[in-house]
């Protein structure tokens, strides 16, 4: 057991001994109230006394390394110098921060820190926002007695594609080292050497490949770590910033978007306590390069003749062409011949406008934002929802999703933090080892198709199914006891574990969980940008805005919108199949690229080939957009204001910082113009009016007014729906100002002109009694609840010659985003076929050799990798990845997955074309403990 002071995570009041009585200390003669166990440096900061510091970071454990925060603290032996970052407050403590003794200590520390620092500020990226520069100006002796030669290193050296290291500037505060080990859990960067030869560096020949590497650049208090994409591109005083929300994945990290002369220059993580706690993943941090890309669409494009080239046209020509054709199809074949795919790129307001256009004007319910890698919308919207904080505080987290580090990286960080802290136990249901497996109390390796049966057996508390390690099973049962009999102590993180496992099978497992543990809450782990907002706004078949079903909400919305489609529409796979069969005659792609993104590439290809008319609303000419008849350029996040909704249902504002390139329009405006040309004016004429309409009509959003969203207390967003009783949005003791050393880049830019950051929180509005706010004759519909009926597809048995395919998303894949970001492009992973060494051996295959992987749908030549983390009977192939080696090609598993199949079984064939014959018969499923360990 360790000393509680040392194990406290950081000085934030909200994290320290919440039930302990506050203590009173004296700082420079002024009495200050502080939470028991809080660190002195944090207590002083809240009271308005800034103590200089370098190594301390509010989100990491203190180490007391730099000695800059020495203050005088009274002790029984008299006042002594103590590091304020390491000292927990105690009742009656007397602290002096401005005495001669303290000043002398600060002078000494700064003089020593500068002994080897090159003071090359004029050519340093950090100049102007550098905690060392600022604190040398504010404290310290002003001159140095050091005349000798400073130490020299090669500078700068690239330690990854994204990060450069300049060891001369390093002051060895250890922030990067601690972040990598403590927060990210990948100690790829460490202190090397000793004494005056100490340096920070990576292992020779390795790369700082962590997907969180950019955070070390953000928290480096000097210019030792700089980011390739930002390097030499701006000075902080040339930058302007707004606070916004990242929409790279669906977690919705708060970011500061910084720009100069309408070019996005940098993204920094804002410390939003309930969401990202100041961290970002590298894809979110550096993805801003896409905004500046020369490949952006800047004008509408149209094929004037069938089969002709796409050529730039005016907006009015493009819109009329789209409206005429869609209107003609609607007239001839009815609205059900039209379909809208995508929408997760849109803001909530955009999504609402498009949902209204599709359902009330085009007359089709065949609208789907999830593009085949999500879960049935009724399940996602109907299950009782948990927040990230609730998941991190729950005694038990049950995980059924893909690898979170690849899909929702900062959610991985949050859960990892909770598991490390020890209060939460993780039971993982996964068909392969994931990034969280090493921290799981139990990792149950089920085979795709068997999730629901595994959940049922878990709930029954009896022996585990064949194929699951009995020790893991016992551990899982024991961990689940912590959730209580009805599961009230459990949060289920529910995503799509594999693209080659039908979403309905996951829904079936979710249904089994919800009935076994009625008290459990669910955190959807869907990954697409604003997919939750799109679902909330009705961009899903059978769903209307506000999480209501088409049937339940029909009367209410018909009163406001006009007639709605009679029947439930098709989902993404259904739309594509309809296009192939001819029943869908036109498809609108809303920032969707089914060719790169839909699990069944052959189906997407055939659908785009056969469908009569394709409209692409996009920012880039993606492979799918390139095949459209009309392409409409759209403005993207940070180029238009609006709101976005994350996996928790947290609605936060995204701000406009840039003007979109060329003639790019916001999506809602495109919807509005198309509606007008189709003969129906949409009433809302601005983003604000759209939100007002959403608030009025969408039942789950009632009470979340614009005023509430814009209130200072709502900067972390508002989780929908509002609870029935009033709620305070503030968090206790939140920082009133930004810690200038924790997030130097944000504070300095803010100080130099951007609007002041919001202060403490206020109370939000509360949803009124539904009946009372009903404007017309119809009552407000009820949001979807649970249970929903789930109709799982049949899963056949795995034959002896086949392996069951697991295909997960990778953060760095071949999506359009990586392609248009120069710094990220080189990071894309390559597809390989990973299988258990037992299976490879059984099939007579060698690691590193190439095999033909054949499914009922297609085949692919891949390199094999033996991976003990893959259970027996399973092969994993990443999705949307390039294929290394001579075979070449793109898409990874997209060539193998058939949209209609519940699971995908594949055979591995030697390249001569023969099916390899198993040397031993049945695939014995239980892995040995040694294999599990990954030896």
């Amino acid at each position: 057991m360790a000393d509680p002071v040392v194990t406290s995570h950081h000085g934030l009041a909200s994290r320290v001994a919440p039930d302990a009585a506050p203590v009173t200390i004296t700082i420079d003669g002024v009495p200050v109230e502080a939470a028991a166990g809080e660190f002195l440096i944090a207590a002083a900061e809240r009271a308005g006394t800034f103590i200089p510091r370098f190594c301390y970071h509010p989100r990491m454990k203190p180490v007391g390394m730099c000695r800059m925060c020495l203050v005088e603290v009274s002790t029984p032996r008299g006042a002594t110098l103590q590091p304020a970052c390491y000292m927990a407050v105690a009742e009656g403590m007397e602290v002096v921060t401005t005495s001669e003794k303290v000043r002398k200590a600060q002078d000494g520390v700064l003089e020593l820190l500068l002994v080897n620092h090159p003071l090359d500020c004029p050519v340093c990226d950090k100049g102007g926002e550098c905690p060392l520069q600022d604190q040398v100006l504010a404290y310290g002796p002003g001159e140095s007695r050091f005349l000798e030669e400073k130490r020299h290193w090669a500078k700068p050296i690239p330690i990854s594609e994204l990060v450069l290291l300049d060891r001369e500037r390093c002051i060895q505060c250890g922030r990067c080292v601690r972040f990598a080990a403590e927060i990210a859990g990948e100690a790829q960067i460490d202190f090397l050497g000793r004494g005056d030869q100490t340096e920070v560096n990576i292992f020779e020949g390795a790369s700082f490949s962590s997907v969180f590497s950019g955070n070390t650049v953000q928290i480096c208090p000097v210019g030792a770590l700089t980011a390739t994409p930002y390097r030499f591109s701006a000075r902080p005083w040339d930058l302007d910033q707004v606070e916004s929300t990242c929409t790279t994945c669906a977690l919705g990290c708060r970011v500061a978007v910084q720009s100069s002369a309408n070019r996005a220059t940098r993204m920094l993580g804002v410390d939003s306590d309930p969401v990202n706690q100041s961290w970002l993943c590298d894809k979110g941090r550096f993805g801003y390069e896409s905004l500046n890309s020369g490949d952006r669409l800047v004008a509408p494009l149209r094929r004037r003749t069938p089969g002709g080239e796409l050529e730039p046209v005016s907006w009015s020509e493009a819109l009329s062409a789209v409206a005429d054709r869609l209107g003609a199809i609607r007239g001839a074949s009815g609205g059900s011949a039209l379909a809208v795919l995508g929408g997760a790129r849109l803001s909530n307001e955009d999504a609402y406008a498009w949902a209204r256009l599709a359902k009330a004007v085009l007359g089709t319910d065949s609208v789907d934002a999830q593009l085949g890698d999500g879960l049935p919308a009724e399940v996602v919207l109907g299950l009782p929802r948990a927040t990230v904080d609730e998941a991190c505080a729950a005694p038990v987290v049950l995980l059924l999703s893909g690898d979170l580090r690849e899909e929702l990286p900062v959610l991985f960080l949050r859960l990892r933090g909770a598991l490390e802290e020890g209060g939460t136990r993780l039971v993982e249901l996964s068909s392969r080892a994931t990034s969280l497996t090493p921290l799981a109390a139990a990792s149950l390796a089920y085979r795709p198709g068997e999730a629901a049966a595994t959940v049922a057996a878990l709930a029954a508390g009896k022996g585990g199914p064949e194929g699951i390690d009995p020790a893991a099973w016992t551990a899982a049962l024991s961990a689940l006891e912590g959730a209580g009999p009805d599961g009230a102590g459990m949060v289920v993180v529910l995503g799509r574990p594999s693209l080659s496992e039908d979403g309905a099978l996951v829904a079936e497992a979710a249904a089994a969980m919800a009935s076994a543990w009625p008290g459990a809450r669910f955190l959807p782990a869907l990954r697409r940008g604003n997919v939750m907002g799109a679902l909330d706004m009705g961009l899903a078949p059978g769903i209307l805005p506000g999480r209501v079903s088409l049937a339940e909400g029909r009367a209410w919305f018909e009163e406001a919108w006009g007639p709605l489609p009679a029947d439930r529409g098709r989902d993404c796979a259904g739309i594509l199949r309809g296009a192939v069969e001819g029943s869908v005659e036109a498809i609108v792609l809303l920032g969707a690229d089914p060719l790169g993104d839909f699990p069944d590439r052959a189906l997407a290809d055939e659908a785009l080939e056969k469908v009569g008319f394709v409209v692409a609303v996009d920012a880039f000419l993606s492979p799918s957009a390139a095949r459209a008849d009309v392409v409409l350029p759209a403005a993207v996040h940070h180029e238009r204001a609006g709101t976005t909704t994350n996996i928790e249902g947290r609605i936060s504002r995204t701000a406009q910082k840039l003007v979109g390139p060329g003639q790019a329009w916001p999506d809602w405006m495109i919807a509005s113009e198309l509606a007008a040309r189709l003969g129906t004016e949409l009433p809302a004429g601005s983003v604000a009016e759209l939100w007002d309409e959403i608030e009025r009509l969408a039942p789950s959003h009632a009470g979340i007014t614009r005023a509430a969203l814009e209130a200072p207390g709502a900067r972390d967003g508002i989780v929908a729906p509002l609870p029935a009783s009033p709620v305070s949005l503030s968090r206790r003791g939140g920082p009133a100002r930004i810690d200038p050393v924790a997030t130097p880049g944000i504070e300095s830019v803010e100080r130099q002109g951007a609007p002041p950051r919001a202060g403490l929180a206020e109370r939000s509005g509360v949803a009124d009694d539904p009946a009372a706010t009903t404007a017309g004759s119809v009552g407000r519909p009820r949001p979807l609840g649970w249970p929903q009926s789930v109709d799982p597809p049949h899963v056949g048995p795995l034959d002896n010659y086949s392996l069951r395919l697991v295909s997960g998303r990778h953060l760095y894949d071949e999506g359009v985003l990586l392609e248009v970001c120069p710094s990220l492009g080189a990071l894309a992973d390559r597809a390989t076929a990973r299988a258990n060494p037992y299976d490879l051996d059984r099939l007579g295959l060698t690691t590193g050799g190439h095999v033909k992987v054949r499914s009922a749908r297609g085949s692919l030549v891949l390199e094999t990798v033996a991976d003990a983390g893959v259970p027996r009977g399973v092969v994993t192939i990443g999705f949307n990845l390039g294929v290394a080696g001579e075979a070449g090609g793109t898409g990874g598993a997209a060539a193998l997955i058939g949209a209609g199949e519940a699971v995908v079984d594949v055979r591995l064939e030697s390249l001569s074309g023969r099916t390899t014959v198993p040397r031993t018969p049945a695939p014995k499923p239980t892995p040995t403990p040694a294999e599990e360990e990954g030896a």
């Binding site: 057991m1 000393d3 080990a181 460490d190 202190f191 000793r194 990576i202 292992f203």
Partner: protein, 207 residues
């Protein structure tokens, strides 16, 4: 493909099993790898990282901190000449200079034939016999320039083989009993120590 030999790997696994936390075996494993290769090769560090559950960067960070672990190739004999004050007063600088001339390398370098690596060292704690030096951590005191030449010649012709093993060799006489502990005993001791730690924690002490 394992870089460590089967024998080294076996001993490494025994060592890892001895500690409550795998990473505690990090330094012993570095010594083992150094015994095999004479220095710590990157491949060995990567393998050690896997064995003790840390990253290669952490292995390098630890290894580069300690003088007795070499992350670059060294000779069969590592000659460390003390230049701290007692030895300095007794002619250590002259001795080191002579050693450099005699071996044809500067301090920190290895002879072309890969036999000798010369280092200058801080106090080796043999001040009574200053100037002193160590060859593969074996002491030689009252070393004169002529004595140094004799020492080098003796080492080259193998006259001191019984006294000075090749660099990296852990013990002249292999320990045979220490590492072969019954797994049950390890488990029992771990349980006992965990119990004791919990007891200390309950008393509010620092564990």
């Amino acid at each position: 493909m394992s870089h460590l030999s089967a024998e080294t790997l076996g001993r490494a696994r025994d060592l890892v099993a001895l500690y409550p936390h795998r990473r505690s075996a990090l330094i012993p494993l570095c010594h083992l790898a150094q015994e095999q290769d004479g220095w710590l090769r990157p491949e060995a560090m990567e393998e050690i990282a896997g064995l003790v559950g840390v990253t290669p960067a952490e292995v390098l960070g630890t290894a580069s901190f300690y003088d007795m672990l070499h992350t670059e190739p060294v000779g069969t004999y590592v000659v460390a000449v003390c230049t701290n004050i007692a030895c300095m007063l007794r002619g250590a600088y002259e001795l080191l200079e002579h050693a450099e001339d005699h071996l044809g390398v500067r301090a920190g370098q290895t002879t072309a034939d890969g036999v000798f690596t010369l280092e200058d060292a801080e106090c080796l704690a043999d001040c009574g016999r200053a100037p002193c030096l160590q060859v593969n951590h074996r002491f030689f005191g009252d070393v004169t320039p002529e004595g140094f030449e004799t020492l080098v010649a003796d080492l080259r012709r193998g006259a001191l083989d019984g006294e000075v093993p090749h660099h990296g060799t852990l013990l002249r006489v292999r320990r045979t009993g220490g590492l072969q502990v019954e797994p049950s005993r390890v488990e029992a001791e771990r349980a006992a120590s965990a119990g004791a730690a919990a007891g200390r924690a309950n008393q509010g002490g620092k564990g």
